[in-house]
């Protein structure tokens, strides 16, 4: 485990988690389990039975984060009301925004929205290989 890298936490969106799974890099998530935050609504979207992400989430449930307070919920609702965005992306952007954390997101539309909120974004490759 790279200790320097894991001083930082990252919020992960469904698009990146699915890319990581498809590229068989789930072991990187396991190794950095202390550094990753999967919003609860994202977990619902990616948690398909028998998938590698399902096994990861079942084994390390602490990586799944619900909203912790009213401000996070309110931020989520504000973003969810915008056109073209869905539950998972809105929750990921809201958590990254309110906790001031970088967001790992590959979805172009979600990335644009996140950057408009002043959030630092990374692709799944940036997170796995350089993050």
């Amino acid at each position: 485990m790279d200790i320097n890298r894991d001083l930082f936490q990252y919020v992960l969106d469904s698009s990146s988690l699915i890319n990581i799974e498809r590229n068989r890099k789930i072991s990187h998530l396991r190794n950095r389990k202390g550094a990753i935050i999967i919003p609860e609504k994202v977990a619902v979207e990616v948690n398909m039975p028998n998938s590698p992400l399902h096994r990861l989430i079942s084994r390390y449930p602490f990586i799944v984060h619900p909203f912790q307070n009213y401000e996070e919920e309110e931020e989520y609702l504000k973003i969810r009301g915008q056109s073209g965005i869905d539950d998972g992306e809105a929750a990921a952007i809201a958590l990254a925004s309110k906790r001031n954390l970088p967001l790992v997101i590959d979805d172009k539309m979600g990335k644009m929205k996140a950057e408009n909120h002043g959030i630092e974004t990374l692709s799944w490759q940036d997170f796995i290989f350089r993050g």
């Binding site: 698009s15 990616v46 609702l77 009301g81 073209g84 539950d87 992306e89």
Partner: protein
Amino acid sequence: MNNLDSKSRIIIGSQLQKARELLQLTLEEVAQELNVSFNDIINWEKEKTRPILKQLEKLAELYGREIDYFLKETPAPPERIEFRGKPGQSLKELSRDIKIILARFDELCRTSIEFEDLLNKRLKVELPRFKSSDQPKTVAKGLRDIFNIEEKPLLDLRNLLEEKGIRIFELPIPENAFSGFSFWHSEYGPSVLLNAKDTKGRRNFTLAHEVAHLIYDHGSSLCYIPLIFDKYAADLEYKANQVAIELLLPDLELEKDFSKRNLSKTPTEKELAQMASKWGVSVQALGYRLENLDLIERELTNKIVETRPKHPRRPKAPIWQRQLGNRFVEISIEAYKKNFISSGRLAHALQIPIRKAIEIVEQRSK
């Protein structure tokens, strides 16, 4: 629950009220479902207080809505629905599961409008309107003329109508409570919902029937079309059925096809089924038409329908694609490819998991 002391107006009370009223739910019923007080629901709808997220999610589930329905102003559903359902039933008596289907249909129409607006591709309605004095045969001919298909079988009616600006969706209707629902909405334009549980031929017939209601300006119609036609059906239903028959089974071409097949006055179930398949209708619709044209014996259709074995067929297209229709699927994918919507939004619109949505886009891009 939160008092609204902040400036922001995130949850719109009138949207909560609109969603509840479409399902004809009382304040008490909703309060009981959410385990809150009657006054809480009033206060949420009047925006004096606000539900917490879990409560809002519960309301979305209860009302058959997406969360964002409560976060922005949306077009109002039809104020009045003409109930032409099963005899002895009324709209109010329909179960909540059935009424939720109407809300889900409204959500599909809303989503399609949203995507079309993002793409600047709002459907242009090119559907003629007819006077109530116009005969069903004239109306059917008028429609065939705009499709430019003379008297050929109308197997592709849904796509032809979608090209003319009609929104068409299919959803499984619980208890087969109705066959179709249609309205001409100020925002969505002409829109039709079909019972996805019905056979293809039956859905085609229902579609033609609902289109007749639209072009005759019969108002928002929720119809149950019985398997065995009721000769004493209400006037508007009878007329819509006649348009559907004339449209799907034009007499001259049908007579030619019948004689080409060398069928007797008592054709077998298999012979009728083959002919029905060619014309894209159910066996009973074809049978009644042939009876009316005196080509087969009277009452033969009812005998065949009552004893006919069921042959469920596997649909060629995936269920989600069939129910949403080609046009909706295409605009959803285009909106995603042009970065107007996210992968999550695409998956949600297509009612499939995100992985599957991404795979479909990749396959189509190859």
